[in-house]
């Protein structure tokens, strides 16, 4: 799917209408509605972006409005892992393990320049993973150093739209993993 179409709500609706039979579509609709509106994040913050993630969850920005209701301390209860901060070589195996412990369907938001590409530590640093997608698959990339809370909200909304495209009958087409 092209990026241009992804920005357009009408295309998305057409896309959904054109594929699958009526019964399956309605099951998909219910499941996607449920999944996209209750994404619980894992409490996972390595550095500066974690503070902005906390600010997003707190009073002014309050991302519970979008169904990202509570932070879960255990990966087994979480749906999305917001990689907030730099991942270094020593942390990478831990992150992979956390990801493996999460139950399907699971999603990843790479928050901040460090998680996207290594950010300010891309050059000259001997210990930084240059992008978290070297370790785990990423759904939404969120640039910024650190991204504003509004940017994180936007990233979450993009993830919700991505979830709404999923179908349990056509996992290979929609990219759902499980």
């Amino acid at each position: 799917m092209k990026e241009k179409d992804f920005r357009d709500n009408e295309t998305l609706e057409l896309f959904k209408k054109s594929g699958g039979n009526v019964l399956m579509t309605s099951i998909d609709a219910v499941i996607d509605w449920g999944r996209s509106n209750s994404i619980w994040p894992l409490t996972f913050a390595t550095s500066c972006c974690g503070i902005e993630m906390m600010a997003t969850g707190a009073s002014r920005h309050d991302f519970a409005r979008f169904g990202i209701e509570v932070y879960r301390a255990s990966p087994r209860q979480a749906d999305v892992i917001v990689v907030a901060g730099t991942i270094v070589n020593k942390m990478a195996p831990v992150l992979k393990r956390l990801y493996d412990q999460m139950s399907e369907p699971r999603y990843v938001i790479a928050m901040g320049a460090c998680a996207v590409s290594g950010g300010p530590f891309y050059y000259n640093s001997y210990h930084v993973v240059r992008g978290v997608d070297h370790v785990i698959p990423v759904d939404v990339y969120l640039p910024g150093c650190p991204p504003r809370p509004e940017a994180l909200l936007y990233g979450i909304m993009q993830l919700q739209r991505k979830i709404k495209l999923e179908s349990i009958t056509r996992p290979e087409q929609t990219g759902i993993r499980g």
Binding site: T46, I51, M91, V94
Partner: protein, 375 residues
């Protein structure tokens, strides 16, 4: 069944076992890993494992020029970013013997104190949350947003501003700056009473913090526990008093000292420091002199060959900066003496023979920032 009942209970208590706290654990405030040896519920031994966010910043500094280093110091201790920037600027200015306009010194001092307040607000929020009071989290971060608004208007960024630069500040303050700071002080003076009502006088909180994690003054000095954690043990170690920089020699403020040496004492020092910081800002905010926001600097900054050291009081303690220069535009070696690293070293000592639940309270009262430990 009979065998299970007859199992000697004391044997279970004597056995020592290890649990692993972190690197992903909400109460370690990041990616700190603690291997705790337990006997029943009692902490017998504790080994911190560092390096889960070691980004090699000291080594990176050797490739960067001095104005570039400022952007890296932001990301070491992200909650006192202004203050770490200030340290680099002071060091460069001291080495080059540059006169700094008075306006810059006023602005920097006000910004430093705002940084200290917001850092303590966030610490208060997470302290409350670690002990199970979620309201603290919402109250603290609500008031913190006011400071972030002030910064956003003047510096253009919410909290990693890189606002200081060698010779001055990046741009002049916003026309609304003084008005907004006044509004913040007025509001926060009322709100901080709520903080006291929620936590300071709370019986549950007092029981969980008083007499927990005793750090004597001698230990604080020998481990190098600076900042509010050291002053909670009665050690007068405020760099703003002992080695004044910028405007700190000209303003009136008290160094907050408490002598109970426990978690509650470290808590109260930070609460009172917020009052002191507001006091300092009030003295400065109306008297910012007119003038330039930056001194004239050369395009390429080269420090004369030699060794330089500069210390400042960050929100967590004494931040030391040691630079060896060989006369080039990049430092030959740069070393950060970060407060959290020394404060972490005492955690094993003061949490021995405490309950595992108290370890969370003690760790929170030291106010650790993990990138500050690992750099």
């Amino acid at each position: 069944m009979k065998e299970i009942i007859n199992l000697p209970v004391s044997k279970i208590d004597e056995e020592e076992y290890h649990i692993n706290m972190g690197p992903q654990h909400p109460s370690t405030h990041g990616v700190l890993r603690l291997v705790v040896s337990l006997q029943g519920e009692i902490v017998k031994n504790l080994k911190p494992h560092c390096g889960y966010i070691h980004r090699g910043i000291e080594k990176m500094c050797e490739k960067d020029t001095y104005p570039q280093i400022i952007h890296l110091t932001d990301r070491i201790d992200y909650l006192s970013s202004h203050i770490s920037n200030h340290a680099v600027c002071l060091l460069v200015e001291k080495a080059l013997e540059i006169e700094i306009p008075e306006r810059v010194q006023y602005i920097r001092t006000i910004m430093d104190e705002l940084t200290r307040i917001q850092s303590h607000q966030l610490w208060w929020s997470s302290f409350g949350m670690d002990l199970g009071g979620l309201t603290c989290f919402f109250y603290g971060l609500r008031d913190r947003e006011m400071i972030l608004d002030i910064w956003e208007e003047t510096t253009g960024s919410r909290f990693l501003q890189s606002y200081n630069c060698p010779g001055g500040v990046m741009q002049d303050i916003h026309p609304n700056f003084q008005k907004k700071v006044h509004a913040f002080l007025k509001t926060f003076k009322k709100k901080i009473k709520d903080y006291d009502r929620i936590l300071s006088g709370n019986v549950i909180f007092e029981n969980r913090s008083q007499g927990v994690g005793i750090l004597s003054k001698e230990d604080a000095i020998s481990y190098g526990v600076t900042g509010p954690s050291g002053r909670g043990s009665g050690w007068s170690c405020d760099v703003r008093k002992t080695e004044p920089y910028s405007m700190y020699s000209k303003v009136q403020f008290n160094e907050v000292l408490r002598y109970e040496c426990d978690t509650y004492s470290r808590y109260m020092v930070r609460m009172q420091e917020m009052h002191e910081s507001m006091n300092i800002i009030e003295q400065l905010i109306d008297n910012i002199p007119a003038g330039d926001h930056s001194a004239k600097m050369k395009a390429v900054i080269k420090l004369p060959a030699g060794e330089y050291f500069q210390q400042v009081e960050s929100a967590r303690g004494e931040l030391g900066l040691y630079v060896v220069s060989d006369g080039n535009k990049t430092p030959y070696r740069m070393k950060f003496r970060t407060p959290s690293f020394s404060n972490l070293s005492v955690l094993d000592h003061i949490s021995r023979d405490m309950k595992i639940a108290d370890l969370v309270a003690i760790g929170a009262s030291l106010d650790l920032v993990i990138p500050d430990i690992d750099r």
